[in-house]
Structures are given as C-alpha cells and as structure tokens.
Amino acid sequence: MSTPDPTKTINSPEATRESAPRFTKAKDGKRVDHAAAAKQFLDSPIHAKSHDERVWAMRTKRDKQAHAIEEWEELRDLASQIKTHTLTHLDEYLEQFADNAAANGVRVHWAADAADHNRIVHEIFNDHDVKKVIKSKSMLMEECGFRHYMEGVGIEIVETDLGERIQQLDNEDPSHVVVPSVHKMRSDVAKVFAETLGSDPDNDDAHYLAGRQRDATRPLILEADAGMTGANFAVAETGGFIVCTNEGNADLSANVPNLHVASIGIEKLVPRMEDMGVFIRLLSRSALGSPITQYTSHFRAPRAGGEMHIVLVDNGRSKRLGQEKFWSSLKCIRCGACMNTCPVFRRSGGLSYGATYTGPLGLILDPSFDAHRYSNLPFASTLNGSCTNVCPVKINIHEQIFEWRQVLAEDGHIPWAKKSALAAAGKVLADPKRYRAAIRTAQSALKHLPDWAVYSQLNAWGQVRDMPDVPDGGSFHDWYRKNRLHKTEAADTATHDSGDDS
C-alpha cells in the first residue's frame, strides 16, 4: 500500500472501529516512562500504522520540496547562521524589538517564567473584563499550561485550530507541534464531536467533521472578547511579528476582537525583514511539504481602534543560552520535521513522550524544563541522525540527545537498572577483547537459554523484539579471521598488529 497523500481529498475507504490508545500519565515528581507509553500506543495497531503512514507522508512531501530547490542546503546554512548571529546578540535584538514595538503602539510585557506569563495575560484580561477568548495554536502557551490556568480563573479559552480544538474537546494534550491530533483517526474525531458538538456519530467523513467544527466555532469567534496568537518569528527591525498558519484562525483571532495578545518566546527573534525570506521558504516545506503556509501574517501595530499586547517569555531560555552543548536548540523554528522522520516517534506517537515537546525536539528541550521527570526521554532515540539531517536550522539534534544522556547520568537522574546495564555495556564496547568474549557468551547464551531468560523484564530490548538467530558460522570476526585476515597478511608481508584477541 502506498503512503496516503495529504493533498488527496479522499477518505480512506473504511474507518477503523479500533478504540483510540490511551496513555497513563506520570504522576507529579515521577519519571515519564516512554517505553511503557509507547507500548500502550502499539496496543492499538491500526492507529499505530495509520500514525506511522501519515507522519511519514509529511516527511516524503518535505523531501520532494527540498529536492526541487537547488539552493536548499544553502538556505539551511543561512538559516542556521542568522539564528547563531541573533542568539549571540539576543539582548541587543530584543531591546530593539521591544522599543520598536512600543513605538508602534504595542504594549510590551516581559515574563521570566510560565507563571509570570499567565499572570500578565490574566491581568490584561481583567483590565478589559474579558470572559471569552479565542486563540490560535501556540506551543509556548502549551508550555506555560496557559489554558489550564485560565480554566482555573473562569476565563473560557476556545482553541480555533481544528486539530488543537479536537484535542481540547477530548481533554488530551497535542501530540505533534504542527498537527496536534495526528495520532487520532477520523472515527475518534467523530466520537469526540458527537459527544461535544452534537455531530452525527456515524458520519466520520473528514469534510463533514471539519465543517461541523467550522460551523460550531464561527459564533464563538464573533462573540469573543479577546484573541490570542503565538508567533513564529519576531523581527527586531520592525518590532513586528509573523504568524504562519493554514486555517485562517490566527487572522480571525487577531482581527475580529478588539484586543489581541501575542505570546512570544524570546528566541523567536530575527534581525531584519530580509532574513524572513530564508525562514518562510524553509518552514512549511520542512513541516508539511507545502511551499508556504496558506497564511503568512505580519503584525506590526494594533489596527485603528484596537489594542495589541506582546508578552515576551523567557521560561528557561536565557539559562539554556548559557549551556555550551545545548544553546543551539534555541534555533528551533518548530517545524516538526525531526518528528516526522524519527522512527521512534513514528511508532510511539507523540503522547507517549508525556511532555509539551515530543519527538527528537522534545528529547533535547523537555529535560531542560524538568531533568528528572523527562530523564527517560533522551533514550527514546536510535541516534540515527535523521533528525539532524532534516532540521532546517541545522541543530545537531542527535548529538544533543547523546549529550543529554551523559548530563542526566552525571546528575544522577538515570534509573539504576539502565545505568548499570549501560555502564557494563560501555566497558565491554570500549574493549575489543571483552566485546568478543561477550559476543561468544551471548551467542552461546542465545542458543541455550530458554526464552523466559532472554525475554525477561530486565531486557527491555527483548520485550518488543525477537532476538536475532545466532549465525551458524560464528561472528563476523570469526569469519574475517578465517577467510580474509590471513589472506591479507599473505598479500601484504609487512608486519601488522593483527588485532588478535586471544
């Protein structure tokens, strides 16, 4: 079966009746168990297969777009350089941005952390007697737990992005930075909408469901007291910010109510408008494999008679800027390409990460928010480097994943079983003699040990995979010694250290 093409407006022929996977959330103060959650996801095999195909289809479309542009690699270099330049001058560009925004008539606020952000926005809303808010998708607001905070103080927040709205109505976190409900199938959406919007529970046509959400959301947009957006980029030179969306919901949120509040992470800065050409050409091609988002919106000043606020949020970013090995993760433009290409993400689903940021990006961002809670995440990677290869701003993602493993181990966040196994493995792998001895033992053990020993709880690898058959002819090294080594020595009479292991 070929991978589904998201540009085709055809539903898959049959909807599944399989129920949606549910995940056990880690309790406060506990580690997220990614492997266990991934297993829960794989217990719904039709969902798991659909997720894998859909996410991979985005990767495939990304490749097609990238290959069609001769200067693609040059654009990635430029994007990376512009971000390096900006981050190494971030104080100057932030000041320039904030001063220009203020001169444009925008009220600028500074939030050191998530709590500050939520409090500042709450105060703005109180000042304007705001009770109902429409918002577009913002990972920063997810990071701040903004919606939950607002629920607690009795202000109604309506997500206007379809995927985000599905997740809000289902009381579930987004699973992907670009497509929040990508782990759900249309039968799941039909169920959620039947329960919350009163749609026909037996109609799971995507066009019908999207139409029901549009019709149900439009009156909420018209009645809202305030609109919120995030920002993909903020331009120091103009004091303006840029929002890239496909549904038109950010432009409705910003342009229908009189009050517009934008939450912007301090790492979103670029120096000049001219730099935007590079990022806009890379962003949607990397994300969805489309040449550009349907809407690229530049907000510089409140519209006549309106009011605009910007909340600049640090929330750990200035600290990360000082981490030699991890500061470059601040270059991230949240395209999700690293997720779409990651074999672990594709097969475990975003919710298995139990964190705001999922996939490879999550592995290098989440531990900086809570090292203990997310200490398992950097191990949810094969370190194959595919994430790094597709990253439009050239973050060395897989190297940072590896570095996080070391940092977390040094800081004592790694569980004992994993740490001792890895320490032993480290010793063995670093020493050819021990390695070869271990291989012989393992091969002998695999041949002779019963399954209960090989597939036990102590061997996480064996729980989900069949161990390979033991090769009859011995290891590669045995074969090489027999067939090549001595022949090579015969051909080349110079004395070699033959690397003999005995």
């Binding site: 540009t7 971030l90 050191a112 497509v179 018209l222 432009d251 342009n255 809407y295 690229t296 640090d314």
Partner: protein
C-alpha cells in the same frame, strides 16, 4: 516578578561568546523569467498547487459576470458581495470602522492585491487593501485582482519590498484556508475562506 532588565541581564551573562556575523541573503532568482509574461504562468501553477485558481475575464464579460460565473455553483441565490475595489460596486459597502462582527454574512469579498509572488502563488494585502482586516477571513469566498506587472519572482524579493515597514498588518494569502488535521485529508475552507480566485487586472483597467 522579574522584568525586562533581569531577563536582558541573564541573556548578557549567558549568551555564547562567538563571533557570528549576520550573513548576506542572496535573492536566488537568477533562473526566473524577467518579464511578466514569463512569471504569470509560474504564479498560476503555484497558486493551483495551494488550492487557489485563476479566472479570466472573457470578451464582453464584466468583472461581476466573471465572478458570478466562476463561483456559480457555490453561491446562494442572492450573494452578498463586499467590494474593496473601484472596479466593482457590490451590494455591501466596507467602511474602515465597521465592527468586524457585522461582516459575518458576506459571501464574496473582492480585494486588490498589492503584489503577487510567482514562487508560491501568494498575494499580498495590507490594511489599506482590506479596509476591514477580518473581511478576508469571514467571507466565504475571496476574489483577488492582481496586476500581472506587480509580480515578484520569489519570497526573498517579496521581503525586500518596504510594504511592511509602514503597514500595521501585512498578509500573504496563498490559496484558500485549509486543514489536513483529520486523518491527513485535505479540506479547503477550514476557518477562513473556502475559495480564492485571482483575476489578472491592471490597475488602469476600467471595470
């Protein structure tokens, strides 16, 4: 509560001490046609890929005839047409201070783009062209007049213009609103307009 100065101080203390000059960004458009005749088909193809379309005014047809013919099977009996262009009167006036909520029943909004981008099929508006920003999203369908002479090659060229520097709001529309959030199925007409049609029209063309 920590404010601007604390955050800036933390950044100054922590920012990497690297020499990293800002790179020059090339225009990357040597391979593009240099004339309007060559750029228009590229614009039209790119627009089609994003779900938009191009309509041509036929011999003897008025702009309004062309619009009604193009959207014929998608309109109610008496469509409400709001025009922000002098070439067409329409039947709903747009005024700068209109409450955006009052525009919820508009079927077609007709706008003129400041310029278009051949690479992506995008058209650009600021608040000047929109009169009321929200009309470009609350209307069911959007019709855009674009002077073919106002096409730029690619997105780099678009960002070299100074339209944004004085406008409060500048937006690129590339086709109609869309979503693929349900099982990857593409649906045109998410929260904004259901269709976007571009009509080539020089500024001096009488309506």
């Amino acid at each position: 509560m920590k404010g601007r100065n604390d955050i800036l101080a933390a950044i100054r203390a922590n920012k990497p001490a690297l020499k990293a000059p800002a790179p020059e960004v090339p225009s990357f458009d040597e391979a593009y046609p240099t004339d309007t005749t060559g750029l228009w088909p590229r614009f039209a193809d790119a627009l089609a890929l994003m779900g938009g379309s191009v309509a041509e005014i036929q011999e003897g047809q008025s702009l309004e005839d062309c619009i009604r013919a193009t959207l014929a099977d998608r309109l109610p009996e008496q469509p409400i047409i709001a025009s922000a262009v002098p070439e067409l009167t329409g039947n709903r006036r747009l005024r700068e201070h209109d409450n955006p909520k009052t525009l919820h029943d508009i079927d077609i909004a007709v706008l003129r783009a400041r310029f278009g981008v051949a690479e992506t099929g995008s058209v650009c508006f600021t608040e000047k062209e929109l009169i009321v920003n929200a009309v470009a999203y609350l209307a069911q369908h959007l019709v855009v007049l674009l002077d073919p002479a106002e096409l730029v090659t690619n997105i780099h060229r678009a960002y070299q213009r100074d339209d944004y520097k004085n406008a409060r709001y500048t937006v690129f529309h590339t086709g109609p609103s869309a979503t693929a959030d349900i099982e990857g199925v593409l649906v045109r007409g998410a929260q904004g307009v259901r269709s976007l049609t571009v009509i080539a029209a020089s500024v001096d063309t009488p309506g």
